[in-house]
Symmetry: C3
């Protein structure tokens, strides 16, 4: 298992981590298999989405903040970050990627993102690379 840290700057933010996942893959020397990117936090998530135009991430965050407002009537959780927990479960705590010929199998526009929903914080990401057994 490979672990790295990152520092987020805003309450809601997507940080691209594709190169850090590739670094973990390289260290593993696995040529064919899969790669699990895991977020051990309950107010953050991992997703795969477009990394060409930063406006895509802008619009995703805008929708998330509108659909799941920070303050809502009836919310009980004393820390006041229930919106962050909801976003985390909708986006998901991990992403799995395929590996062929020692490289991540990503679509042309795909990148891997750490999704911060309660920053700024120092966060941890785990990456496990598994060789394919057949």
């Amino acid at each position: 298992m490979f672990t790295f840290e990152l520092h987020t700057q805003k309450r809601n933010e997507f940080v691209e981590i594709t190169d850090r996942v590739r670094h973990a893959l390289k260290q593993s020397r696995v040529r064919q298999g899969s790669c699990m990117v895991y977020c051990p936090h309950t107010t953050a998530a991992i997703t795969i989405n477009e990394n060409a135009d930063p406006d895509v991430v802008h619009d995703m965050l805008l929708w998330l903040e509108r659909a799941i407002p920070h303050v809502q009537p009836g919310f009980r959780h004393g820390e006041g970050n229930s919106d962050s927990h909801i976003k985390a479960s909708l986006v998901g705590s991990s992403a799995t990627l395929l590996i062929e010929e020692g490289s991540l199998v990503l679509g042309r526009w795909q990148g891997v993102y750490f999704c911060e929903f309660d920053g700024p914080r120092t966060r941890t990401v785990h990456v496990q690379v598994a060789a394919l057994s057949t």
Copy 2:
């Protein structure tokens, strides 16, 4: 593959199953690898989220019920549980966890939940533990 049953009490409810996943892991004797928790139902899901303050689950369920109401104009499905199916696909039918030194790699506040969206029912969960191949 390890399989267990659980009984839900409400239409919408999160049941923590972390200890039952740990039990499956212990039986497998795997020391390093990954663990897949799978829900074979189309109106329920699996998620990883906070297990310290039960108000977090309360607020997540409150948001889900508001955002995806039980009855909606235009819904056609005769069983009247389309909201349950929508919640199931948004939260997801499985969660994957990492295993190191024979233990689940969970963040400090993370637990594994079975998410009931059309209870009360008797439900089944599958757990598959895979050793890491390198």
Copy 3:
């Protein structure tokens, strides 16, 4: 890794691919393990849900189109398909299935769907079948 193409007909559409995943599984000759179905596109997704009554898919698409409208104030992405990217990250880029005795472990009503959110297009799906290592 097994790869196949499909052609979608509408902007938003779920195409069932369970039989194509089974075909990949059969070719792999794996008897016990797991199967990863991966979508290499950023405006499409993979989900597992009911395949008995087509009204379920109708209602899921209806909710998604209402909750995440095509045009929204404040959206910046020039291609005008930010709604598609949001749906893709909520539903998720992959699904993992269990394999026992050479068959997919699916619940009675479960099927695997390719979720098109920006069609019609020609799309690609990857399937990786891994034998269980213990």
